[in-house]
Amino acid sequence: MKPASLSYARPATLSDAVNNLQSLADQCRVIAGGQSLGPMLNLRLAQPKHLVDISQLTDLRGASVEDGILAIGACVTHAEIEDRKIPDVTLGLMPFVARGIAYRAVRNRGTIGGSLAHADPAADWLTTTIAMDASLRLVGPAGSREIKVADFVTAAMETAIEDGEVIVQVLVPCFSPKAAWGHAKYAKKLGDFAQSMCVAVVDPGRKVARVVLGRRSELPSLLRGVSELVASKGYDTTSETLRSAIDEDLKAAQADRGDQTMHRAIVERAIRDLAA
C-alpha cells in the first residue's frame, strides 16, 4: 500500500461529482483513468485526502459531431481513440497520436481529459490539441464554460481550472478534406514522454495553419512564423526562408539552447511529414 491515506468516491452523476468536489475543495483530486495520478499517489508526490472518480460517468464517455465540431467525452480512453471507437474527424491524426502514448495497458485506462487536466508539457495530447486549436468544455458550480486548450494550460502542470470544475468534453474542429497533418516525436524510449515533438496542421479549407512544438519543461509553443510560411509557401524544408523562420520561432519560444538542434530537426521532420 503506497498512497497516503485517502477516501475514494465514485459519484453516480456529474452534478454529484461537482458537489463532491466543491464541498471537499482543495483536499480533493479528480481521478479518471489514474495513469498520471496513480504513479504520483504511489510516489506520494500527490497526497489528496479525497479522490472523486469520474471515469464511469456515462455523460463523459462517448463522442458526437455537431456543427463541424467533434465533442469527445473527457473520459474517452486513448485506446478508444486509437481503435477509432469514436469518430475520427482529423484524417487519422488523433488515432495516430493515441497509438504513440505510453503503452496499451496505460492507454486502456488513461483518458484524454485526464491527460489535459494533468497538463504535463511533454504529453502528446497537449501539443496535439493546441495544434488542432481544440477547446475544452468545463462544468462547475457556476455552470458550463468553454476555453481553448492553449488558454487552459497556464504553466507546466498548471491549469485555469477552478475549484469544483470538471473537464467534460474536448472539442475538436473537424478537418476539411483538403487538410494535411504532420507529426514528429523524439523520445528516449518507445512510449516515453517526448523530449521534443511537433504537430503541424495545415487546412486551407478552414484557413488554418498551426505548427506547434512540445517539449519537456515548457508549455507547447505555436511557431507563428513557420505556420504562416508553410501555409503560403509550402513544405520545402531546404528553403532558407523556412530554415531561418524555424530559428526565429525557436528563439521566440525560448527553446533551451542546448536542445535547439533537436527541436529544429523535429520541426523539419513534422513539416516534411505534412507533404508525405
Binding site: M1, K2, P3, A4, S5, L6, S7, Y8, R10, I31, G34, Q35, G38, P39, L41, N42, L43, L51, D53, S55, A79, A102, Y103, R104, A105, V106, N108, R109, K189, L190, G191
Partner: protein
C-alpha cells in the same frame, strides 16, 4: 474502507478494502494470487499487468476500489484457454524467460496482442511489448514465441485446400 465486489478468474469475491489499496496488492495479499508480480509500482515496468474486463491494465496504479464491478483475469486464470496454452508452449520452446519475474505481465500482453491485432509483424510485436520490461533482457525469445503463435494461428485460420 469500502466493500469491493469483483470477479477474479471467474469467481465472485466480496471483501472490505482500504480505499488506498492497489489492485495489485489486493490480488496478491487478499486473493493470494501471487503470480501477479509487483516491480516498479509506478506503471512503468509492466510486471503487474493483468486483464480487467478483458483488457490489459497496470494493477499497481489502479486502486482496488476503482475495479469495483469488474472482471479480473490473472495469470492463474487461464485454465483450458487454447490461446494461452499455445503461448505458454511457445514460451517454453523458445525459452522466453530467465528469472520469470516479468513473465506474467508478458503473458497478459502477449495474450492481448495476439487476440487483438490480426496483422502482426515483428516491428508491431516489438512496439506492443514496449511497456513490459525484462531485466534479464531476454526480449528476442519472447518476440519469437509470440511470432510462433501468430504463425500457427494464421496457418490454422486459412481454409484447407479441397
Amino acid at each position: 474502507m469500502k466493500t469491493l465486489n469483483i470477479r477474479i478468474n471467474g469467481q465472485a469475491v466480496s471483501q472490505a478494502v482500504d480505499d488506498r489499496l492497489s489492485l495489485a496488492d489486493f490480488v496478491r495479499d487478499q486473493c493470494l494470487l501471487t503470480g501477479t508480480h509487483i516491480g516498479c509500482e509506478h506503471g512503468v515496468c509492466g510486471a503487474c499487468t493483468l486483464l480487467m474486463d478483458g483488457k490489459p491494465i497496470r494493477s499497481c496504479i489502479t486502486l482496488a476500489v476503482a475495479a469495483d464491478g469488474a472482471e479480473i483475469r490473472t495469470v492463474e486464470g487461464y485454465q483450458g484457454d487454447d490461446l494461452m496454452v499455445a503461448i505458454r508452449k511457445a514460451f517454453n520452446l523458445r525459452h522466453a524467460l530467465q528469472c520469470g519475474f516479468c513473465t506474467s505481465g508478458m503473458l497478459a500482453t502477449a495474450y492481448d496482442v495476439l487476440s487483438r491485432i490480426p496483422d502482426l509483424d515483428r516491428d508491431r510485436i516489438r512496439a506492443e511489448l514496449g511497456g513490459n520490461l525484462c531485466r534479464c533482457t531476454g526480449y528476442l525469445p519472447i518476440i519469437q514465441a509470440i511470432e510462433d503463435v501468430h504463425a500457427q494461428r494464421s496457418a490454422s485460420a486459412k481454409p484447407k485446400a479441397s
